[in-house]
């Protein structure tokens, strides 16, 4: 019965041809980057699915945003689960993205012929962080509102596009109801579409690489797909368990009149920056220190983009510098968390 159905489907969709091609295709056997990449695709699909479910009961306006989320979590059947999965998976998405790129950097896989893969990966990191950040604003809780204010202020200190990006994020000069509208638009329209396209290009670039993989290999199907399926279910178990046993609190609704007391903490992927800004003296090299730090970071980003040209053969120095940078960021984040 199942084989009949499979044949019927294969005759009409050509899926058997695709599977045949995958069977023939060899993939490097124990490449962490491949598995993380597959997990990222899985997490993105999970985010899209849970995000669409959340889209139905969520109301993107300051008067109702928090109340609608409270209702999702408190009253809708399995609303807390869907929201929990969406929130936790977003953290995993950003974390795995960072890991994916870090490992690529350390293995020096950015060099020829992987330039396009590297660039699309870098773009994906930017878009992924954008997705997570705009998503964190949507609950419009006091903390989300303050984050929107503080983080956009921080982004506004960046060189060239900084002020423009801040304006775009805020939907105007100040944080206002339009900020929520912009965050919603970016989070549910612009950025998911961009992510879909970039992931698509990224996968195509990976597939079309001319060079054959080095070392021991396995077939893309069924070996690799089976392992990926196992890993994905494991990840799902972890995420659902976290959503059940460690729910991310919604916080109190935003009160725009409330005076900011104490420190406003940005999401963890901005913590290293926060820590740097906090520790820096008011002025560095004649520039205001936020401008200097954001400028330095932009230089690092530009350097990362230009890396395939700067370091054509993938030297050990790049690996060393990259490792130092990654360790520094991890240490700063750790220091801020503890």
């Amino acid at each position: 019965m199942a084989s009949v159905a499979r044949k019927w489907l294969a005759d009409r969709t050509g899926s058997s041809a695709l599977l045949e091609r995958m069977r023939a295709r060899q993939i490097q056997k124990n490449s962490v980057v491949h598995y993380i990449g597959a997990m990222l695709v899985f997490l993105f699909l999970l985010e899209v699915a849970s995000g669409i479910l959340l889209l139905l009961p969520y109301r993107p306006d300051p008067a109702h945003a928090h109340a609608s989320l409270t209702a999702i979590v408190g009253r809708l059947p399995y609303g807390a689960l869907v929201r929990g999965i969406h929130a936790w998976a977003s953290h995993f998405f950003v974390a795995l993205l960072v890991a994916h790129l870090s490992i690529t950097l350390l293995l020096r896989r950015f060099k020829e012929p992987n330039e396009l893969v590297w660039w699309s990966g870098l773009l994906l990191l930017a878009v992924g962080i954008g997705l997570a950040f705009t998503g964190s604003i949507l609950p419009w809780s006091q903390n989300a509102y303050l984050q929107a204010r503080v983080s956009s202020e921080m982004i506004g200190q960046g060189p060239l596009f900084g002020p423009w990006l801040k304006h775009l994020l805020r939907g105007g000069e100040h944080v206002s109801p339009w900020t929520l509208n912009h965050a919603f638009g970016f989070h549910t329209g612009v950025l998911p579409a961009a992510t879909t396209m970039i992931i698509g290009m990224h996968v195509v670039f990976v597939q079309r690489r001319a060079k054959a993989p080095e070392g021991p290999t396995i077939p893309a199907h069924p070996d690799f797909t089976l392992r990926v399926a196992a890993l994905a279910t494991f990840l799902l178990v972890v995420i659902v368990s976290l959503a059940t046993f460690a729910p991310i609190p919604l916080g109190s609704p935003a009160d725009l009149r409330e005076v900011i007391t104490g420190e406003v903490r940005p999401p963890w992927y901005f913590l290293f920056l926060h820590e740097l800004l906090r520790a820096a003296p008011p002025r560095l090299l004649g520039l205001e220190s936020p401008k200097f730090i954001l400028g330095a970071l932009s230089v690092v980003a530009a350097f990362a983009f230009a890396l395939p040209f700067i370091d054509r053969r993938g030297s050990r120095i790049t690996m060393f510098v990259g490792a130092v940078f990654i360790v520094l960021v991890v240490l700063l984040t750790g220091h801020a968390l503890l």
Binding site: Y78, D223, T233, V237, V240
Partner: protein
């Protein structure tokens, strides 16, 4: 060099023409030929001089110029206090109360023969304040909503009467509103502000020595603090009555309130209407008792459930120690009231706990609100002493309480069911993971075997 000088001269000429042209164009200017710039300066200096003459003593408060700098603290503080007062306005100034001549910047300005008053007596005080505060056109310039009857009311009050009789211990306007640092009553720092007024009254009225000549009791504030009114005030209820809720701040007695009951009536109308239907109403009138006071007291108005019943402190036991039938009614009323208070407390705790668990139960909160309304109605009904009506109301309230409990219970059960769903999902996914893992291990083994 000469060329440069010429240039400067030409520029200066151009400048002069530039300045002169608009000035010449202005109407009412002197004819051409006179130096325009010099004339203009003269006119500038002349204008304020004329203005000053038009409104003397208003322009600058010369009193403050000296008093601000005096080394004697007592004399300096008055100036500092006045700076923060609502009267800080050149149209009022120190002279409004102290008279004297502020145009004379010497000590001569404090000439008593010219009308200067150092310290007005209590008799003079209300007339001094009234001098402005009874003038509607003057008062309206500053605050259109401020009344102008304060002095008349004060003169009618006991405070005013003893002041009029020359009692220097009597309270005058300044006793409550301050003398130099007069603040509007709605200012949080004003002594007579709603928040502080109880302390202001207590300053004299809780002082046994001070009240001795007048034969007045001194425990009112203390009693009030223990009363439902005082507690509601302490909890921050905006409408909770403080001293001035019942006692008019200026007249003492509010208009149309010859009896205490008439005062209660201002807020508690329903209770009074219901009371008039009760057997108590007729009996009290026959005995010459004030309607509300025998049961509720005056300043120490208590909670309904404290008052009812036959405990030694209850209001009922004051009169009905021996009577059989009223005794039964009193005990029944107390039971019903205690029951509903317990119900309300129980449901309120349940709702809070549910919220803490993250359950969203707006319907239960709504039921709690209805329960509270029922309680208020029930307490009102107590005034009729109609036990049957009370029992009906109490049963209705109980059903609302049960409804709230049911809603919370259902929400909790749903939550548990959902939890079970989570566990099932986690279990199923884990099982799938294990199967996939085994399958891929099996596959890897098979490949290794076929590889060599």
């Amino acid at each position: 060099m000469r060329c440069f000088e010429k240039l400067v001269a030409a520029l200066a000429c151009a400048l002069l023409v530039g300045v002169a042209a608009p000035a010449a164009a202005a109407p009412g200017d002197p004819p051409a030929g006179t130096a325009p710039a010099a004339k203009k300066e003269e006119a500038d200096a002349g204008a304020p001089e004329a203005e000053k003459k038009k409104r003397p003593e208003r322009d600058a408060n010369t009193c403050l110029t000296c008093h601000r700098t005096l080394t004697d603290k007592k004399l300096r503080v008055v100036a500092e206090e006045y700076e923060h007062s609502v009267h800080r306005d050149e149209r009022i100034g120190c002279v409004a109360c102290h008279k004297g001549n502020p145009l004379d910047p010497t000590v001569q300005s404090h000439d008593k023969t010219a009308g200067f008053v150092v310290r007005p007596t209590h008799q003079q005080m209300s007339a001094i304040c009234g001098g402005c505060h009874e003038d509607p056109t003057f008062v309206r310039r500053f605050n259109a909503r401020l009344g102008v009857d304060q002095r008349k009311l004060y003169d009618l009050s006991r405070h005013g009467k003893i002041a009029g009789a020359g009692d220097q211990n009597s309270p005058t306007c300044t006793s409550c509103h301050g003398s130099h640092a007069v603040l509007p009553v709605d200012s949080p720092n004003a002594l007579a502000n709603r928040r502080q007024v109880k302390d202001l009254c207590a300053k004299c009225h809780a002082d046994k020595e001070y009240m001795k000549p007048y034969g007045l009791p001194t425990a009112q504030t203390e009693k009030w603090q223990k009363s439902v009114h005082g507690k509601a005030f302490a909890e921050g209820h905006e409408k909770a009555p403080t001293c001035t809720g019942c006692h008019s701040p200026h007249a003492g007695t509010l208009p149309g309130t010859a009896t205490v009951a008439a005062l209660c009536d201002r807020c508690h109308q329903d209770e009074r209407d219901l009371f008039l239907k009760s057997p108590h109403s007729r009996a009290f009138r026959k005995l010459g008792l004030a309607d509300c006071v025998p049961c509720h007291g005056e300043h120490d108005v208590g909670r309904s459930s404290w008052l009812s019943g036959m405990t030694p402190d209850s209001s009922c036991s004051k009169c009905h120690a021996k009577d059989e039938k009223p005794r039964k009614v009193a005990e029944e009323v107390a039971r019903i009231l205690n029951d509903i208070e317990a119900e309300e407390h129980g449901v309120s705790v349940a709702v809070t706990e549910a919220r803490r668990e993250g359950l969203l139960v707006p319907d239960a909160s709504y039921a709690l609100d209805r329960l509270r309304t029922s309680k208020i109605r029930l307490i009102a009904t107590v005034h009729t002493l109609d036990v049957r009506q009370l029992t009906d109301d109490a049963n209705q309230a109980k059903s609302v309480a049960n409804e709230a409990r049911d809603i919370i219970g259902r929400a909790r059960r749903d939550r548990q069911l959902e939890r079970r769903g989570y566990f099932a999902a986690i279990g199923a996914a884990s099982l799938l993971f294990v199967l996939l893992l085994l399958k891929s291990i099996q596959l890897a083994r098979r490949r290794r075997r076929s590889e060599p």
